[in-house]
């Protein structure tokens, strides 16, 4: 496995996959943190971030997953290398190695954007210490849906030679996920799509907004965490991975 991972590293040298991922993350950070920081925002800064960032994640992280997985698998499809690789190694192991390599890049980018959020909060002067427990939970709830989405994209990228398919499927999924976050009155909707789990696992809510007072009386509070659906997400990820692996092993490359 270590050899296969090294092999992945060598193949991707000079393809700027890591740099591309970092660029997408940089755009995400700028997009997430850009805004007006009034005194009210500074007072509730940490909680505001926990409330707002899942939406930004729901747009950027699936796209990051599509780009990374597609670029990683594209090398093989282009050069018809899967055939050669499957002679020297088991197909399942190739699937695993590519997944581990790609998902590590995506998780690393998640951690970078998470850490930069906290550093930014301190620099801009949020009026309290970071609620580290909540932020660790937020990190977990960011990584979990991202890994699920990555598994889906990875499987498609490995199975289809035409990378347009993976892009279109991923974009349509992202679209469903994003829209489902704007429909809190239909909670089932977001639970149906893996892309909607950034919303399902959002555990800070905004309360007190009315048409008349607008943001004046707004406050943020921690809501109940849907552990059941967290478990369902993990289970779905495992099942998707196993199915994807089996399909890839059976495929004539």
């Amino acid at each position: 496995m270590i050899k296969l991972l090294k092999c992945e590293y060598r193949k991707t040298k000079g393809r700027y996959i890591f740099l591309t991922a970092l660029l997408v993350t940089a755009v995400q950070i700028v997009w997430a943190l850009y805004g007006k920081y009034t005194d009210t925002v500074l007072m509730n800064g940490w909680m505001t971030f926990l409330y707002q960032l899942p939406l930004v994640n729901a747009i950027f992280l699936p796209l990051l997953s599509i780009i990374v997985s597609s670029r990683l698998c594209d090398i093989e499809h282009k050069g018809v290398i899967f055939k050669q690789l499957s002679v020297i190694s088991e197909k399942g192991k190739i699937f695993d190695a590519k997944f581990i390599y790609g998902v590590s890049i995506v998780i690393f980018c998640n951690i970078i954007s998470w850490a930069s959020t906290i550093i930014f909060g301190y620099i801009i002067g949020f009026s309290s210490d970071v609620p580290i427990n909540l932020y660790l939970l937020y990190l977990l709830f960011t990584i979990a849906p991202t890994v699920a989405v990555y598994i889906f994209q990875h499987t498609l990228s490995m199975l289809f030679k035409n990378q347009a398919v993976t892009f279109f499927a991923g974009i349509i999924g992202t679209f469903c996920g994003l829209f489902s976050m704007f429909l809190p009155n239909i909670p089932l909707l977001r639970k149906l799509f893996i892309w909607g789990y950034y919303g399902v696992l959002q555990f800070v809510g905004m309360f007190g907004w009315t048409k008349e007072t607008r943001m004046a009386d707004v406050y943020f509070a921690v809501m109940d965490i849907d552990w059941l659906f967290f478990a369902i997400l993990i289970a779905a990820s495992v099942v998707m991975y196993i199915i994807g692996r089996i399909l890839f092993c059976r495929k004539e490359v």
Partner: protein, 241 residues
């Protein structure tokens, strides 16, 4: 000659179900946007106009630019595979016509998508009980959206021509879509190529007609399309594939 090239483009895309994505994608905002509209009906009081915003806002900024990026990248990738550029460029056709035929192919897809978006809009509006759809406005939004989309298509084709990678131009399309939102918010929507589609479709303020007038909009779009086409054709004829 251009018709022959267009026929060739059509043949290359045969059995490639990329059109399916353009068919499915607008259904999502039509369905979920309408549900969202019904949920917030006390805030959204401009009927058809509010519904239009619900249908097109995310489509214009995030998803249609990416879809166009993928489509353009796919069209150019066919030529990069198996050294097809060598074959196509040895044909007795002018190189700018090759680019133009590809641009027309993508533009046709943009037009079909816009018509589909318009049709879904009328269907969902009627389904929720609104009467008298503003057909005139819908036609204008869709036509100008197509023109703005053509500008985006010409940039994306140019990028996919220069960048061999499949994913990178799509990443740029995504960043472009975001920048479009930003430029529109800052008041430069009428001159920034990635804002023009959203600007033409009037997705964020449908009641307000385009301030600079439609002539200005058309001129800007045509200039951009010509500019990107000329650059691409020049480099296509100078560069070794």
């Amino acid at each position: 000659m251009i018709f022959k090239l267009l026929k060739a483009e059509r043949m290359k895309l045969k059995r490639a179900p990329v059109w399916l994505a353009f068919f499915i994608m607008p259904i999502i905002p039509a369905l979920l946007g309408t549900i969202n509209y019904l949920g917030n009906i006390e805030i959204l009081q401009s009927e058809w106009y509010s519904l239009w915003t619900q249908h097109t806002l995310f489509t214009c900024y995030f998803f249609l630019p990416i879809m166009l990026g993928v489509y353009c990248a796919y069209i150019m990738r066919i030529e990069y595979n198996n050294h097809n550029w060598n074959k196509i460029l040895t044909m007795p056709v002018s190189r700018n016509l090759i680019f133009i035929s590809k641009l027309i192919t993508v533009s046709f897809m943009v037009l079909i998508s816009e018509i589909w978006i318009g049709a879904l809009f009328v269907i969902s509006g009627t389904a929720v009980g609104m009467s008298a759809p503003p057909y005139g406005s819908i036609v204008v939004w869709c036509l100008f959206g197509t023109l703005g989309g053509m500008v985006m298509a010409s940039i994306q084709l140019m990028l996919s021509l220069f960048i061999k990678s499949f994913a990178l131009p799509i990443g740029i399309a995504f960043a472009g879509g975001l920048s479009g939102l930003l430029f529109l918010a800052k008041g430069f929507g009428h001159i920034w190529p990635y804002s023009l589609m959203a600007y033409g479709m009037n997705s964020n303020s449908p009641q307000r007609m385009i301030e600079s007038g439609y002539t200005g909009f058309v001129v800007v779009c045509v200039v951009f399309i010509a500019f990107f086409t000329i650059i691409s054709s020049v480099i296509l004829s100078k560069r070794d594939v």
